[in-house]
Amino acid sequence: MRTKISSRLLAASSVLALGMTATACGGAKTGDTASSESCLDTSGDTVKIGFLNSLSGTMAISETTVFKSLSMAAEEINADGGVLGKKLEIVSEDGQSEPTVFAEKATKLIQDDCVAAVFGGWTSSSRKAMLPVFEGNDSLLFYPVQYEGLESSDNIFYTGATTNQQIIPALDFLKQEKKIESIFLVGSDYVFPRTANKIIKQYAAANGIEVLGEEYQPLGSTDFGTVVDKVKAAGADAVFNTLNGDSNVAFFKEYKGKGLTADAMPVLSVSIAEEEVPGVGVGNLEGQYTAWNYYQTIDSETNKEFVTDFKAANGAKAVTSDPMEAAYTSLHLWKGMVEKADSFEVADVVDAADGVTYDAPEGTVEVDGENHHLAKTALIGQVNGEGLIDTVWSSEKPIEPDPFLKSYDWWKN
């Protein structure tokens, strides 16, 4: 009886599926080229833009801050008369820390809300999930976080650092200033740490640095007893930390608890900014190093104004960090591109992008029209007793973006 019914079900559903697929004959076949028309409407006094950040889920703690700095930038621009005389109208969506949701909400912002550009994303997986959506709909995404490089899409502007503006300068710092001869790699198990470590290992091989170990833990893991034991036993000159999120709390507690110090075995982190320091604990982090392109402590008029405004909007305890600054900058850069192009059309904006500059809190940044990244100055920082980060080393001038590491002869993908 049972088998009879399930075979009947199978037969019925496959007939139905086949029949319906057959009726799809009018549709395009693979290999045809896509053509998409934007439904962007610029006839009114406002223009819509989308903010797509994880306001719920594990990434909410970080991405909410990006949402706040984007909102601040939009308010500033509106107070200043808008873009091409049109006020910005924000459509905000929650990416829910899930790649699938990022893809869905990006589609919604483009097709349903007809936004001129979207700002947001944080994790590599959220960016990878959105990339085909923006390419398929020929729309624009501004992605504000440092990432693993090896990517360049015509439809994305990358306003955070690529690897040659963060990871490679960090290694230069460790080699030249800290004179390290060996290193231990600790990271979360996903694409950014794995790609970063691939680059680090090739750099190390070319520069005579010995990699004494490479450990990965799943995102969100808080079990670091064994990892720290291995780090301690290996006795490397420094640790390169690509852990993300809560794992850092467990790692640094364990690190301090097992008697390892910033003086004897410094840890250089690439995912801990001002926002994360209180969560990990100032006591656990003091003296450790970070690599970014912006710190709250940067001594410039533009930055002082940025920090004051941000605190005014979000409370005196609010801190500013690199991804927030990069997001804030991304909105101003888009404004610059649109005004240079004198158009909101994606093709015009992309054509106008090359050479657009903005006097950002981190210093002046310039868009590279070829690979859609920014020229940025690399800064190595050290966590101080107040939980802020002081610059201890700088690349002095902006580094041209090189997402595919073409200018490094030791690199082989």
């Binding site: 009886m1 049972r2 019914i5 399930s6 009947r8 079900l9 199978l10 019925a12 559903s13 139905l16 599926a17 319906m20 697929t21 009726t23 799809a24 009018g26 549709g27 395009a28 076949k29 693979t30 290999g31 045809d32 896509a34 998409s36 306001l55 719920s56 905000s92 969506e93 929650d94 829910q96 820390s97 899930e98 790649p99 699938t100 893809a103 869905e104 589609t107 919604k108 097709q111 349903d112 994790t123 590599s124 997986s125 990878k128 999930a129 990339l131 085909p132 959506v133 398929g136 090896l150 198990d189 996903y190 694409v191 794995r194 790609t195 799943p218 995102l219 993908n413």
Partner: protein, 359 residues
Amino acid sequence: MKTSKIKHSSPYAGWLLLAIALLVLAPAVLSDFRLGLLAKYCCYAIAAVGIGLAWGRGGMLVLGQGLYFGLGAYAMAMHLKLADAGPGGVPDFMALYGDAAVPWWWEPLRSGAVAVVVILVLPVIVAGLLGLAVFKRRIKGAYFAILSQALAAAFAILLIGQVKTTGGANGLNNFQGFFGYALFDPANKRMLYFVAAGILLVSILAMAWLHRSRFGELLVAVRDGEERVRFLGTDPANVKLAAYVVAAVLASVGGALFVPIAGIVSPDDVGVVASIGLLAGVALGGRASLLGPAVGALLVGYAETSLSEAFPGSWSYFQGALFVLVILLLPGGLAQLVGMAKRTVAHRERPALEEAAAR
């Protein structure tokens, strides 16, 4: 006599309403984007129909259906990646993260026919073996629930760990075509919707048959008195196994359709939270009823989208409140409301009829 007639005809009337809503109404009024979302909810609903059988009718709290949803989804996604790469080609992400070679266990999925067979047969094998091991040993209740959830968690962790061959946390996406049809074309997207809605409707019909069959009666008997069924000479393990396998296949089919519709699958879509999400719709709709699981899954999908669009910062509170309210006020799900409405109507009709008769 009359009430029993209503009872028997109403599932089909409900099914017909759902069919009209899905096949006629929705395509007429919804934009391409919204229809795409409804297609996605249909995929969840297909899995939910299976959960309705295993949990609602069979009493097995299947907390880890994401495992089977994921098996179907990844099998389909791997096939689509290989088809995009062309004969002998290597999927894009493997060149980026891996050693640019297609692993042996990917190779068979180059063929679309093999992919379809895998989607239908792999869940039978996995659920069959697991079910045999579990039900024959008379593991049930919370132990079974925990075990099934642990498997979904383990599957997600396994996928995340294998960046080179599964795309890790990024999952698999950027599909160009679906069995020769370009996915960027809205006409093909609409057809995918019809396929998903059609399979959902057919699977609900199949459930109606199953519910009325000897097997369906036995399943409810096992749920309500497993030992009694055993004493009557039927092995409850076989009955449960069959229901569990059917649920697994439906979840796998839902997952396989999800991939071309959503354009992506990631470990987040198959893990513990996703599995509970599948269950939530079933609980909301009414797990033991025929239409409850599917309608509940469609409603939960719709509610999640519209709440998160209306309140991007605080929607999850509303969703939580909704579940608390349903569990407190309607433990039988929305299907209970329908039952209550019917009873009220019957009560009102009866005096009216008696009055009419007296005259």
